[in-house]
Amino acid sequence: MTLGLGRTHAVALTGLEGTLVDVEAHIGSGLPSFTVGGLPDTACAQAPDRVRAAAATVGVPVPPHRVTVNLSPASVPKRGSAFDLGIAVAVLAAAGVLPRSLVEGVVHLGELSLDGRLRGVRGVLPAVLAAARRGARHVVVPGENVAEAQLVQEVTVHGAGSLAEVVQWYRAAADVAALPVAPRAGAPAPVGSPGLDLADVVGQPEARAALELAATGAHHLLMTGPPGVGKTMLAERLVTVLPPLSRQEALEVHAVRSLVAPVGEVTALERTPPFVAPHHSTSAAALAGGGSGAVLPGSVSRAHRGVLFLDEAPEFRSAVLQTLRQPLESGEVVIARARQVVRYPARFLLVLAANPCPCGMGFGKGVECTCQPREIRAYTGRLAGPLLDRVDLRVHVPPVRRAAFGAETGEPSAVVAQRVLAARGAQAERWAAGGWGVNGLVPGHVLRRAPYRLPPAVTLAVDRALDAGRITLRGYDRVLRVAWSSADLAGRVAPTREDVAAGLALRRAEGVAA
């Protein structure tokens, strides 16, 4: 009997959110046709052509009857070619070629080529994560995506090279447990990116201290200084002193990467936080996420749990910089479209770098600077305002003197990372009740009230600055946060006068921006 109903599963992605999709195939009497319903996009609606060719090539042709495939729930848009395998399996089950009860509980992902080979697709990691959350236990993926799918521990991954292989499995297997399991692919990637170390940086003790504080309390950082003093070098090494990602965090990072990286590149969980440095000509959509059709994650989401470095920050278009405000505040970006709302995580550490003036020579006495005062005002003004208000640490990076070469090399990343890790532990313990985790995320009112209110003798300097109107209340809170990080780094229970003074100094070192 060739007429019938077949059913299996696939996953539709909206951003990182996956919906388990029922792929239902019905073969009825009528002129031969093959249609896919349930809100497919162009690529998905072309699946019948690929499935028909692939099935014929591997010797199990789609029956010449009316074949109707429905992807349910029909309200969720289905994008891309990852539904090919699910559609093929459902249709072949409906045709009685594959055992219907066997394929029902399995999730199928992958694009079919016309000769029946299975091609890798993007977004396998978030798709398998979603399937696992919805209770799926068996996933069939293309060989290229096996390592990626295996990052999810709760499911059994079956890697197939072609439709023929899948057909053969199902015909031979008595139940799902008998499907061949893909061998574990690849060893976990080593922690730490090779080649980068804080010891490479010559001199710059203030900038190093600021970097350490930034890593400790997850404080955003602005570095100003002339070209060629090592701002980029410092920023690149920030990820080497950040604590390595936990398994859960690494999964979040790689889920985003799976959507944008070339197919098959996500193979192991790297525990080093990501470092993303968009060029200053970037568009708002490239930074925050967007695009026509499928909404792709932007730089802020690729930098999730890591560092977002904006070199030449004043050169970014103002509208582009303003898109950073929402993720800085809430740790995620929400991209709203008429038909859908897509959320991507974006909890990153922002590092801004700027020249002191447009020509870059306005440091020290500034004798070589050729900029007009008006130009300098316009340049520094671009960074001011709400964005800079969220940056706790502002440090000036001066040119390096020759004397610094001879001096002993700076501390290596491993030593600094150790201190940062210990300080993070202290913060996690202290803020556990509030769920903030790091000093940089603690609300200001918590720091200003008991039990975290500091004695007046300690906060004298910052109290005076507030009274004199040199800093705002928000600035006051930020000084306190940095003071707590400074105390955590030194292993003190509470900040001292020196910690507060350090926080205030790093707040006021504003080469750029008023």
Binding site: S29, G30, L31, P32, P64
Partner: protein, 128 residues
Amino acid sequence: MTTPTGAGPAAPRAALGRYGEELAARYLRERGLEVLERNWRCEHGEVDIVARDGECLVICEVKTRRGTAFGEPVEAVTAAKALRLRRLAAAYARRHPQAGQGLRVDVVGVLCRPGEPARVRHVAGVGS
């Protein structure tokens, strides 16, 4: 494709078509349909078989093939051809108002592989 033009390379093909139509008509009669007309022509084209299924008027297109190298016989009826059949059906119904109550377009595929008995596949109610 089904226009017979005397001798030449098309002759065996036309003969195959006529053979297929003969088989199809016999098949429909066995199924209890009453064949009213064969090869009815108008300005829109030709209807292979006009039959009546109870009260329903059936406009039937017959497709005959020797093999499936180019697909099943019924696959030859594309969306455009189905549309042409609908026009033909409407034209026939207009000229024969007393012919029946309902109107249906069917396709009969006849597969005559050399050395095998012919296989008939009847698809009722095309494109509705």
